[in-house]
Symmetry: C2
Subunit: 453 residues, 2 copies
């Protein structure tokens, strides 16, 4: 469908750097019919010459435009289990909760229901780009790609490969099956979105314990051959790390296992990275592989506390992942808060320099994520030529103090707050109700019921 | 206003013990005109003889009745700062964020606005009982008591005392001022609620660093003399603990400072208790003093991780506190999640026995809190003779998977979930939207807009 030229007027906020958020209080951003940013003006709310016929959308109340969130690690198929994990840890969690659920995606009706829901719900939380793990099922994985395209969410869609240490009823029968099924999913995306403009296929070996060296080497070959990105898990839990050591006695480390399979490249996303050694982090940096930090999941499953500030200071590229359903939430806003909180726990033992600030968490949620998925030239901030992947955030004033308008969301602006305070209130107390509209590549993909734009 | 006899029909859930939640799927609870529970029936949804003329309220969708939450530690006056704390820790946080805000409560219009808001908002989160720290101002503190009474929230209202280590513009000039002002606030509650039926005054020395031994001894005397409960902070942060050691060199410990002042009794609520020694915990147990665990605050301010399971196993009485605005949230549901998450971080170093379960967190939020405030015979669970302090929780089914009804709240029931799963989904993914109605002592004090009861 054709897009209307639009000028977005009001405050816009985005990350200027890892540590600094740029707040332009009276700005305007023009977005062309191609969904790309045509101009960014800091100090004018006037519609410029040549844009007089454009649609105008203004922020409301204490509102602002903010880049869409990037979820660098989420299991779309596990969404029905969000919040259900008991006191389990990774390896028993997989068998108890996860494999039985994922295996049900051989039923396409079930897949349609869950995937429509998770895409609609994450859009409502402002997630404009998501890196999805699907399941082993080719039709359901392709359906997820179709749903993302139809609903307008930028997505990386991965067919999960695993050929051992999973139940008989839910695993790849052979290396050939894993590679062939992965190819079918790549081919499907090439058909529906040949330029990978919105949807990108992603090669997805689950993780080293459930993949033989053979299947990883074959997928590494596919990765190198096709240039299609890949995603997997690494070093999430100590028992898992010990298992990898046992399964791959020849490899110097968990990271080396992937490297030796040809799966550690600049187009690789590694989720978790909680217990990496110095040598592993150096190898990841040398290969320019990317890290998806999943704090809610790491806390929920008692996996450990990732040293994010250490990784950042060593020059690694880090974004945030909700890791549903190891993580309970599909909201990257909530995940930003969790990232800050995990960093507090790290600081309790490692010292204050381990603390993430609100600004840093928001960077990870946007520009950091953009770099993780290799789209830093297209998304993550507001610059001319980038795609308009954005959310409108609305924070309400406390008017009649005794009347709570639950629809307006939980953030309370009493008056006198600085913009820094407002952003902090959004991060700590906000939720999906404060994300009142969401666009991907200029297309409106979510808005609050009743909102006039 | 007179209450109508009411029968609440449907599923009710409450804590049977610390580790067990009791789910009565088809139950009914009768509440008399006095707001007290007259009958509790597990296996019938029939309205019993003698109640045929009573109003009937039924749960909706995957809904259930649950005891109201008890917030055992919240600074009502700090509510406008919820989410605003930067990278500060306790002692600089007080000077940077807290004292300037609290001192503004010399203005009664400001106090009315903030206090109406925090009471309305906490009620909307299902908090039926709150232990409030107000400020040093008598008129504003009395106004908070009036507002709680008018809005129907059960509350402990404390006028803050402090006579040192706070700014000149915000401290008690003398011991006499502290005691006299405290008495005025006690007298006010005796006037508006002579039996302390809904509102209870609470003697509130801020904490040992900002109180001289003299003011604490005088307040201890007032506590013993009046029988009015008291509340304070203890052992939140290491720098604070070191400061107390320095300020009270004669005392064997932080806990002993309060004990020596006569402030450590069965009617004392101690917030935080993060860094207590074994001897201190033993003394607290011997005095039967109570603990308010404030995990969100302890993480936000990098105070430390309280050893809740240790305290529980040693027989201490523990409830949950939001500690707004050290804590970012005024929701005890969110605090229950934070308690579980902090316990995960403790488990990462201390082992799995440190983990709190969903059931344990809900116990702390209800029955634990009731014991902390000394009202375990009246609130915290559903038994005949107890007050109807309750919330109706509603969890929605996923119907049209692609349509998100944000008003219905974030919990998603896909079908097939056990009650255990539903409760876990509520705790991890729920928010105020899932609390559709709230009663205190039988009176409806909050309901979702448009809800027909």
């Amino acid at each position: 469908m054709a897009l209307e030229k639009t000028v977005y007027i009001g405050t816009y906020i985005h990350s200027e750097s890892l540590t600094k958020v740029d707040v332009a209080v009276d700005g305007s951003i023009g977005v062309g019919e191609d969904g790309k940013i045509a101009f960014v003006l800091r100090d004018t709310t006037e519609v410029p010459e040549g844009w007089r016929n454009a649609k105008v959308i203004r922020t409301q109340d204490h509102g602002f435009f903010f880049p869409g969130f990037i979820d660098t690690h989420i299991h779309a198929s596990q969404y029905p289990n969000a919040g259900v994990f008991g006191n389990s840890t990774l390896l028993d969690w997989l068998n108890t909760y996860t494999f039985p659920l994922e295996s049900s995606f051989n039923n396409l009706d079930n897949a349609a229901r869950v995937y429509n829901r998770v895409v609609a719900r994450t859009l409502s939380h402002g997630t404009t780009t998501a890196c999805y793990f699907a399941t082993t099922h080719v039709p359901a994985t392709n359906l997820l790609a179709d749903i993302c395209q139809a609903r307008g969410q930028r997505a990386f869609v991965g067919r999960v490969c695993m050929d051992r240490m999973s139940p008989d009823y839910y695993r790849d029968e052979s290396v050939e099956v894993a590679v062939d099924a992965s190819r079918q999913c790549i081919d499907h995306v090439m058909k529906i979105d040949p330029a990978f403009d919105l949807i990108t296929p992603v090669i997805t070996p689950r993780f080293a314990p459930s993949c033989t060296a053979e299947v990883m080497a074959a997928l590494g070959k596919l990765h190198q051959e096709t240039g299609v990105p890949c995603q997997t898990h690494i070093s999430e839990n100590k028992a898992e790390c010990a298992l990898v050591k046992e399964l791959f006695p020849q490899s110097a480390s968990y990271t080396h296992v992937y490297d030796e399979a040809g799966l550690l490249t600049a187009k690789t996303i590694l989720a978790h990275a909680v217990h990496l050694g110095v040598d592993e982090r150096a190898l990841i940096k040398a290969r320019d592989a990317k890290i998806s930090h999943c704090p809610a999941s790491n806390t929920a499953l008692t996996s450990g506390a990732a040293r994010v500030k250490t990784m950042l200071s060593e020059g690694l590229t880090v974004g945030l992942g909700t890791d549903v359903s190891g993580g309970y939430t599909c909201s990257i806003l909530a995940e930003a808060r969790e990232a800050i909180f995990v960093s507090r726990h790290v600081a309790m033992t490692d010292g204050d320099e381990a603390k993430l600030t609100v600004e840093e968490a928001l960077y990870l949620a946007t520009r950091g994520g953009a770099r993780v998925v290799g789209l830093e030239d297209r998304i993550g901030g507001f610059e001319v030529g980038k795609d308009w992947d954005a959310q409108m955030v609305t924070l309400s004033s406390v008017e009649d103090a005794g009347v709570i308008d639950q629809h307006a969301g939980p953030v309370e602006i009493f008056g006198g707050e600085s913009w820094e305070d407002k952003v902090a209130k959004w991060v700590y107390t906000g939720d999906d109700r404060n994300t009142t509209a969401v666009w991907v590549n200029g297309r409106l993909v979510h808005s609050r019921e009743g909102l006039k734009l």
